[in-house]
Structure formats: C-alpha cells, structure tokens
C-alpha cells in the first residue's frame, strides 16, 4: 500500500504571537521563530506509519512551504517515512491554491491513501482536505480519530462531537483527514533527525502561476485581531497535587484539578448535598 501524508509546518503554539498589520498575518515575537509540525498532521503521519507497519507498503511525506519547512520532512523521515517531497514556495496561498499545488505532486505519486491533518493550528480553516479531494476527484472522510484498512476499503471512525463517534467505510483510493487524537505521536530524537540526509528530500518548485482561473479564490482577509479574551480563574494550587503537577500548573496555568468531596448522612441528605454541589459547580442549572 502506498500512503502519502501531507504535513504542514506551523508556528509553535507556545510562542508569543503578535499581529503584523501590514501583511495581516500573525507572526512570532520570539528571539528566533519556533516552528512545529502541525499536531493533527503529526498524528496523520503516525497513522500512516502504523498502517504500513501492519499491511506493508511505503509512506511519502509531502509539504508545501518555504525552505525552513523542510524540518517537518526531516522529522517524518527520521520517524520512518520512506520518501519526502518538498513543494518549495514562499507565499502562503489560500486553501484551494494549496490543494491545487499539492494535487500536482500527489497525482504523480498516485497513492492508495492520502492522509492529512483535519485543520492546521495556524490558519485553521480546515478546507485543504476538501479542496484536495475535489482536485483529485477522490472521496473524503474528514474528522477521523481512528483509521483502519481492510482489503481495499478504509474503515474510519469519525468524531461527531459530544462523545459521539461514527464509523464509515470508503473505497480506496481516498483522502482521509484526521484529528490530533487519531494516534499518539512517537518521540523523534534530535539525534535521529540529525542523521537524516537532506538529500532524501525531493524538492519541487511550487508554481502558482500554472494554476487555472478556477483555483483562484474569492476569499479576502479583511482584518486580523486577537480573540476576545475570556478571563480564567486560576485556583490556588492544591497541596495534594504532585510537585510536578503543581509546577506545571504554576508554569502553564492549566492542569486539571483533582478534587473531590465526600458526603455522608441519610440518603435524602446525601442527595440534597449532591444536587447542591452540582448547582454550585454550574453543572445543574435548574
């Protein structure tokens, strides 16, 4: 089975981001920019490698972006991908144009399965998978948290939200977009990355001019601004938490609190107290 995985390099979520009003983009205000492999794409890579591990075949990683984004391909190769293609382009095109560029490479690779992350951590419009399926005239299964292959069909588990799951099948070849939870990524050591020779990456120039009228988009960015900040109350660290957790809490302001209250008394007292507790916590509203 041949699998292609589309990967995207994104600004690291932990870096300080500011708006560059001239270009209407979000940029990093760090001593040096810090990038990461888009988390759901990383899961897509992991899913691909596990499928190949079970069924045999090859994984080719593809990325579109400036020269520094080659790091994600190096990471993929270090993790075990068999090949990598870098579509080198400076400008960040919009979703349909991205899909058109990617489709040129993917058409040549002719994979049985195309995996990619459901949405990117930076732009986050979640459209590329759909435009790509359209450009390649392939079926799309999006929002997947589990992917299996049985014979020539893919069996995917989709996340419907609120704890609901939907299981669908789809004949191969297909485009499957996964969420971050689809697979736990495996750690790739710095040493392993340093051992990958850059010569294993095939570089292709991304040429936007070759694209037809249809691929141009009608979407224009009017403005970029910070989201409305919802203040969050930080509880005083619970002394019963492990030191490691409390350090995390102090550093990041977010580890879920392990707390509980034991109620006792007659049945009706207990019920009353539980109801009161649920109302206090805003879980019960009536």
């Amino acid at each position: 089975m041949r699998i292609a995985v589309c990967l995207k390099q994104v600004p690291d979520a932990a870096s300080t981001l500011v708006i560059d009003h001239a270009t209407m983009r979000v940029v990093q205000a760090e001593p040096e920019p810090v990038y990461a492999l888009n988390p759901p794409d990383r899961s897509a890579l992991e899913v691909a490698l596990r499928l190949v591990g079970r069924h045999g075949g090859t994984v080719t990683a593809v990325t579109l972006g400036p020269s520094e984004s080659e790091a994600v391909l190096i990471q993929a190769l270090a993790r075990g991908a068999d090949g990598a293609v870098h579509l080198v382009g400076r400008e960040e095109p919009d979703a349909p144009a991205k899909a058109a560029l990617l489709s040129q490479v993917l058409r040549d690779l002719a994979p049985d399965l195309i995996l990619l992350g459901d949405r990117s951590q930076d732009a986050g419009d979640g459209q590329v998978s759909a435009w790509l399926a359209e450009a390649l005239a392939l079926p799309l299964v999006a929002g997947c948290v589990g992917v299996k292959v049985e014979g020539s069909v893919v069996v995917a588990e989709r996340n419907l939200g609120r704890g609901y799951r939907q299981v669908v099948t789809c004949p191969l070849p297909a485009v499957v977009a996964v969420e971050t939870g689809a697979a736990d990524p495996c750690y790739v050591s710095v040493y392993a990355r340093s051992r990958v020779s850059a010569g294993r990456v095939r570089r292709v120039a991304a040429d936007l001019r070759g694209l037809g009228e249809d691929d141009a988009t009608a979407v224009r960015v009017l403005g970029v601004g910070p989201r409305r900040i919802r203040p969050k109350r930080l509880p005083a660290p619970d002394p019963r938490l492990a030191a490691a957790d409390r350090l995390q809490l102090a550093l990041q302001g977010g580890v879920s609190e392990r707390k509980g209250r034991l109620v006792s008394g007659t049945d009706s007292d207990v019920v009353k107290e539980i109801v009161a507790f649920l109302q206090e916590e805003g879980i019960l509203t009536t």
Binding site: P31, V34, R79, Y187, P239, L251
Partner: protein, 640 residues
C-alpha cells in the same frame, strides 16, 4: 639449622606431580576465561580518557590500606579487611612455600620459619573470621541492604571449607609427626589435639586424604574465580584504576557525528568502562542502602541494574530506569567505583532513541529543543522576571566580567524567581558588577541529558557555549546546582571551559570580604538540605554552612544524612517532568528527616530542592510550621 619442615611431607612424588599439573591446569583455565572476559570488555564502545593514573593508584591504595569507601560502613570495612588481609597472607605463604620447594631458596628455618608459621596461621584465622562475618550478614539479613543470596552463601561456605581443611591438614601433620613442640601455628597446633586419639598408623593416610581434599578445593577455588563474586579480585581493582576521568555519575559524551546511535539497547552498546564496571560489582548492596528511589518503594535498585546487565539475559525495565533521580548516591557510595547512574543514563538514551518515552516527557524534551526550557514557555518571556530590577542585560559580543546564569527555574518558576531576585539584590547590595544573558540564555540541557536525550543536550550545549564564549566571562555565577554541574563539568567535553561558581560560594566570599554584612533575621533553628549536585557532585558543602552561620540567631541542626551523604529531594534526573509517585515519596522522606531536627526553617541551595521540599511540606500539612528557603533568600532578609 633450627626448626623447619619438609614441604609436601607425606605426599608421594607422582601425587605431587599430579597436584602441580592439576593446579596449573585450573589456573590456566581461569586465566583463559578471565582473558576472554577482558576481551569482551574491550569490545565495548569507546569511553572518555582514563587519565590521572597516579591519582587512581592512590585511590586504590587508600581503599586497600583500609581507609577508603569500604570503611564508611565500619562493619563492611572490618569484614572485608579481615578477608582481604587474611587472604593476602595465605596467598603470600603459598607463593613462599612454592618458591622454597621449587626454586630451592631455603629461607624457612629457625625463627623465620616460626614467625612465618605464626603469621600464616593467624592470617588464616583472620580470613575465617571475615568469612564468618560475611556469612552472618548474608544469612541473618540483619543488615537489610545486603542481599540474601544463596550463591553467595554457598561460596562463603566453600571458602570456609578451603581454609578449614588447611588448618586440619596442619593439625594432622603435627599429630602424625608428633611435633608437639611446634606450637607456633597456634590454630593448627590446637587442632592437632583432635587427632590425638587416632592411632599413629592411620594418621599419615588421613593426612594424605585431607591434603587431597584441600588441594582439590584450591583447584576448585581457582576455577570458581571467573564465575562468582570472586572475580572482583581482578575486576574491582581494575575498575578503580581504569575508571574514565570525571566525577561519579558523569555520563560519557558520545561523539554524535559518528555513525553509532547513542545509548544502549543491548549490553554490547555499553562502553568498555561500563562493561568493566559490571564485572567489578561485588553485590555488596551498599548502593541499594543509599538509593532514594529504592527507599521510596520504586522498582529501582541500582545493584540489580548492574547485575541485570551483567547477566545479559534479561533487560532492565523502563519502570526501573525512569525512577532514578540522578542523585549519584549509588556511585558515591560504591566501594569499587561502579557507577549505576551512568548505566541508567545509557538505558534512558536507548529508550529515547527508540522513541519510547511517556507523552509528557516527550513534551518536555520537545519544549527544551524548541524553546530552550522544559516548561515550553516562550523564550521571549525569559527575562520578564528581572525587568524592574535594574540589571544589565548583555548585548551580543559585549564582554562580561561576572555573568549571572539564571537557569530555567530562576527565569520562569515563581519560587525560582524569588531565589534569583534574592541573588540580584545581594549582588547589588555588595556592589558587584554583573550582567545577565536575558532571553539569549537557554536551558543548559541538564534535564535533557539526565532524561537520556543526548542529542538535545548537545544541541543546547553548543548554542550556550557559543553564546557564553561571545562574552568571554571571567566568572559564571549561578544559583542552580544543576546548571552549575553542567556548566562547570559537562560542557568541557564539548569545548566549553568556563570558571563557574555557585552562589553559595560567591556569597560566602562576599561575606568574608566584608562586602555583605548581616544584622538581623527572623530565623532561629534551621537545618540545611544539601543539593545532590552541589554536595556529592561538586563537593560544595562548607560554603552554604558559612552563609548560614552568618545569619544572626540561626542555629544549624544537621540531619543525620548531611553533606555528601545527604538524601535526595526526589526532584533531580528529570523527575520534575516524569511525575513519578516515587519522586514525591522521596521528598516526603527527606522532609520528615528535616522535621525530625525540630528546625523551623529548611534551608537549601537549589531551586528544585526548594520546590520539592516545599510541596512536601504542604502535602504533610506542615507549611505553617516549617518554611523552605534558599540560603540566598535567608541572607537577603538578614542583610536588609
């Protein structure tokens, strides 16, 4: 010619010949086996330079002459001393006998012979006393850290039998030749009386039988050397002599540009010195007695890490090697210079290269690489803590006399920031001119290295070395013992040699020079918790005590385990990010030791120890009765 004796009396010529042949055969087999072992050791990966042979020889002599690490445990010292000296005497006597017999150098007569016999006899006795002590501790299990192993017990009984038959032999000879005036081999002579009632005719036969048993036992002894703890006779001294340079617990710095991958996923991937250390381990259990993880009930035991690797059959489990806090107590305590911590780091490296790390550890490692701190906080915020302190931040290329290295805890963690602020305030008060790197400082890579991410460590180390070299600091000052250890000892193998000082040393100097004066304080009884990296790692134990002595009203009550023998706080070795339950239990064990001194303040000199002990105090509900403070924080209160 005074008293002497015919050597190998009563032994017919052909039997003598057989003995010589047999013993030489046994010896040959043993030497061959040991040579094969040594060859296998030499097949290990390269290691750091040995260096300092003179120092090593001295170390070995100190150990041998009985003032070394073995004697830190007096029982073990006495037991080993008895066996060692007794064995040495017996060994020398055998050589002397053989010389006299074979080379016909006749010197054993007259008073020399008498003294010789007495000394050999007493040596044998001493040897047996040592064996009996060893046997007692293995069987009674009263000294809990000494493992109760059947093989060891059998070996000891066998050695007792070898020595015992030797004595019986001497007795039988005295009885058979009626040489009752030969009282000088005291024990042998006393045993001779056992044979008094045996009829004179059967005595020679009995003597010969005993002699045969003794010789066969000696042959078996030779053969057993490579296969039992006896092999330490060769490998332990070798290990002490050939340990690569550097203090215990210092991991080897592999050359990552070579083709090998770092770490060990099989024994063959260990370095030659690590392989040698496996052979050197005597299963004495000393490391187990001091290991905080073992004490806290983690599945880790440094001795079993060594022994598991030595057996080559099974592999050490991740639960074991992730529980280590890198406290270095095992390596510090081991009488034969085995370094279990080094092995733990090799095992972790193997796991990391295989991608086998827990998700939160992976996050910390990725954050270290991307953001230069294990918490994954933006580098742009690294200098936020000192914005309003009026400190000088270095611009690229600006030279610096004294560079204050803040470290990640000092930069991002509230408790660490409080320490860093105290240091800044003290330096400013003393009029010291110093500067900081600000956002250009990155984690030294210490957590990455202890967690086995050697590539990430070397990456950060190279960046930091380049940054530091750009300012050519005369002195690097830091309040974090982890940064201190790495900057001072571990960057040199990557080309960064700097003069590094811990804030306790620097502040003690300021006090001495009268540049800081303490006047008041709110503390009375306090105790000091020695950070592992400071005390054991770098031998800095007096400076913090000098500082505390300068705090008015403060009275230092030492914990039973202090200075180099201090128990770890549980926070080292990446435990902050591993989040293991055992690490928390270690901090409680240590806090309880501190509370037992009745001290109301626990002083320490490491931001990690401070966090660990403070949370332990909260978990014990003791935050009201004991305060955990860095010595700098105490001093700042005393001088203001």
């Amino acid at each position: 010619m005074g008293p002497t004796r015919e050597i190998l009396w009563n032994v017919p010529g052909p039997v003598r010949l057989g003995m010589y042949l047999g013993l030489f055969l046994c010896l040959g087999v043993t030497v061959g086996t040991l040579a094969w072992r040594l060859r296998r050791i030499l097949l290990g990966r390269p290691d750091g330079p040995v260096g300092g042979i003179g120092q090593r020889v001295r170390e070995l002599l100190v150990e041998v002459l009985g003032r070394g690490r073995i004697w830190r445990d007096p029982f073990a010292g006495a037991m080993h001393g008895a066996m060692f000296w007794g064995f040495l005497v017996l060994f020398a006597a055998t050589i002397a006998d053989a010389l006299e017999h074979q080379a016909s150098v006749r010197f054993l007569h007259g008073w020399v012979y008498r003294t010789f016999k007495l000394v050999v006899d007493l040596g044998g006795g001493l040897f047996m006393v040592g064996l009996l002590l060893a046997l007692w501790q293995r069987i009674s299990h009263r000294r809990r850290h000494v493992p109760r192993e059947v093989t060891e017990v059998v070996l000891l009984v066998f050695l007792l039998a070898v020595a015992g038959t030797g004595f019986l032999l001497e007795g039988a000879r005295i009885a058979a030749t009626s040489a009752w005036e030969e009282w000088w081999p005291l024990i042998g002579w006393s045993l001779a009386h056992l044979f008094e009632r045996v009829s004179g005719d059967s005595l020679p036969g009995m003597h010969l039988a005993l002699w045969l048993i003794h010789v066969i036992a000696v042959g078996a002894f030779f053969l057993l050397i490579p296969w039992t703890t006896l092999s330490h006779l060769l490998f332990s001294p070798l290990n002490v002599l050939l340990r690569p340079e550097g203090p215990p617990g210092l991991p080897v710095t592999p050359d990552l540009s070579g083709l090998e991958r770092p770490g060990a996923r099989e024994v063959g991937e260990l370095t030659w010195s690590e392989l040698l250390s496996l052979e050197a381990c005597t299963r004495c259990g000393r490391c187990v007695a001091v290991c905080p993880a073992t004490a806290a009930g983690a599945p880790l035991s440094p001795m079993s890490v060594v022994q598991t690797l030595k057996r080559r059959a099974v592999w050490v489990t991740p639960e074991e090697f992730w529980a280590c806090t890198s406290c270095g107590a095992c390596a510090w305590e081991c009488p034969v210079s085995v370094d279990p911590l080094r092995l733990v780091v090799e095992l972790r490296r193997g796991a990391v290269e295989g991608g086998q790390v827990a998700p939160h550890v992976a996050r910390a490692l990725e954050a270290l690489y991307a953001h230069g701190n294990p918490g994954g906080l933006p580098r742009s915020q690294r200098a936020d803590w000192c914005r309003d302190l009026g400190v000088r931040l270095l611009r690229e290329g600006e030279p610096a006399d004294i560079l204050y290295w803040v470290g990640c805890a000092g930069a991002y963690d509230p408790a660490g920031q409080s320490v860093a602020r105290a240091v800044v305030s003290l330096l400013q008060r003393a009029g010291v001119s110093f500067a900081l790197l600000g956002v250009r400082e990155r984690c030294t890579g210490e957590p990455a290295r202890r967690l086995g991410e050697e590539g990430c460590f070397q990456h950060l180390a190279r960046l930091n070395i380049a940054t530091l070299k750009g300012h050519a600091p005369k002195l690097v000052l830091t309040h974090c013992p982890h940064c201190f250890q790495v900057l001072r000892r571990e960057y040199s193998s990557l080309g960064g040699t700097f003069a590094v000082v811990h804030h306790t040393e620097f502040l003690a100097r300021l006090l001495q020079d009268g540049r800081l004066r303490s006047s008041r304080s709110g503390v009375d009884l306090l105790t000091f918790h020695d950070p592992c990296q400071l005390a054991r790692g770098n031998g800095v134990v007096e400076a913090p005590r000098q500082l505390l002595a300068a705090v008015p009203g403060a009275e230092l009550r030492e914990m039973p385990r202090a200075k180099e023998r201090a128990l770890c706080c549980g926070g080292g070795g990446g435990q902050m990010w591993l989040g293991m339950a055992s690490s928390e239990r270690i901090s409680l064990l240590r806090l309880d030791e501190a509370i037992a001194t009745n001290a109301r303040t626990v002083a320490t000199a490491c931001p990690y120890c401070r966090v660990m002990l403070e949370s332990a105090a909260e978990a014990r509900g003791a935050q009201g009765s004991v305060a955990v403070k860095d010595v700098a924080e105490l001093l700042v209160e005393a001088v203001s």
